[in-house]
């Protein structure tokens, strides 16, 4: 049940281990890691965000997931700043007694985060850098949870 917005990288294994440490009531733990894909010009990705609103939005998304599914634990980490190809951008994880709840909650949090958390991606560097357009299918992905 916690949210982090940070420049630093995170340790995926340690984060998932912490969610289940010392407990035996979790049957299913699902994690999603979003990574920087290499774009054609090989440049980095820069993420801008809205400090203050970002944390609120991520907490609201986590709380909404907690309300929809019976979760034993959840975690959202989103990085900002300049990230190299292959770097971790985001972690979303959900722990539940049963696998479908964990899968659905993680998928839900990602769909919401894509359209509701104030992050903006810029690809490349210098003159050729360009803001990434929002995807219409991200809006469609959000609607399937209505």
């Amino acid at each position: 049940m916690s949210v982090s917005v940070q420049v630093e990288d995170f340790d995926l294994g340690a984060e998932l281990a912490a969610m289940r440490a010392g407990r035996s009531d979790i049957g299913a733990l699902v994690s999603f890691s979003g990574l920087v894909r290499e774009v054609s010009d090989g440049g980095a990705l820069t993420l801008e965000h809205y400090p203050g609103m970002t944390e609120k939005a991520l907490k609201a998304i986590e709380q909404e997931a907690q309300g929809r599914w019976n979760l034993q634990a959840s975690r959202i980490i989103h990085r900002y700043g300049t990230l190299a190809p292959g770097a971790q951008i985001v972690l979303v994880a959900a722990a539940s007694r049963h696998r479908h709840a964990a899968f659905e909650a993680a998928s839900f949090m990602m769909d919401y985060l894509k359209s509701r958390a104030p992050f903006w991606k810029k690809e490349g560097a210098g003159e050729s850098a360009a803001w990434v357009d929002a995807r219409e299918d991200d809006a469609a992905a959000l609607r399937r949870w209505d």
């Binding site: 809205y50 203050g52 894509k114 359209s115 104030p118 992050f119 991606k121």
Partner: protein, 81 residues
């Protein structure tokens, strides 16, 4: 009120934030005032289909009343995750 800009809206206007005394009652009225400030502002707000707004850090809509909001942010559709 404090007005914040993000991503290409910030770049186009050339400011991350500015203090604004607004007489507008809703977001659209505020946008009209801001667009009158400079050519850069006018350009940034020329296609409002590409602009999203948050009032006091909550997502809102262009037809929403300002209702005493102290912080108004304009930005493109989000592309995180």
């Amino acid at each position: 009120m404090k007005v914040l800009y993000f991503a290409w809206i910030r770049e186009r206007i050339g400011l991350a934030s500015e203090e604004v005394d607004s007489a507008a009652s809703d977001v659209s009225g505020l946008v009209a005032e801001l667009a009158a400030r400079s050519e850069a502002h006018a350009l940034a707000f020329s296609d409002m289909r590409a602009v999203r707004v948050a009032l006091d850090q909550e997502l809102s809509t262009l037809d929403a009343p300002l209702a005493g909001a102290r912080e108004v942010a304009f930005f493109p559709p989000m592309t995180g995750g």
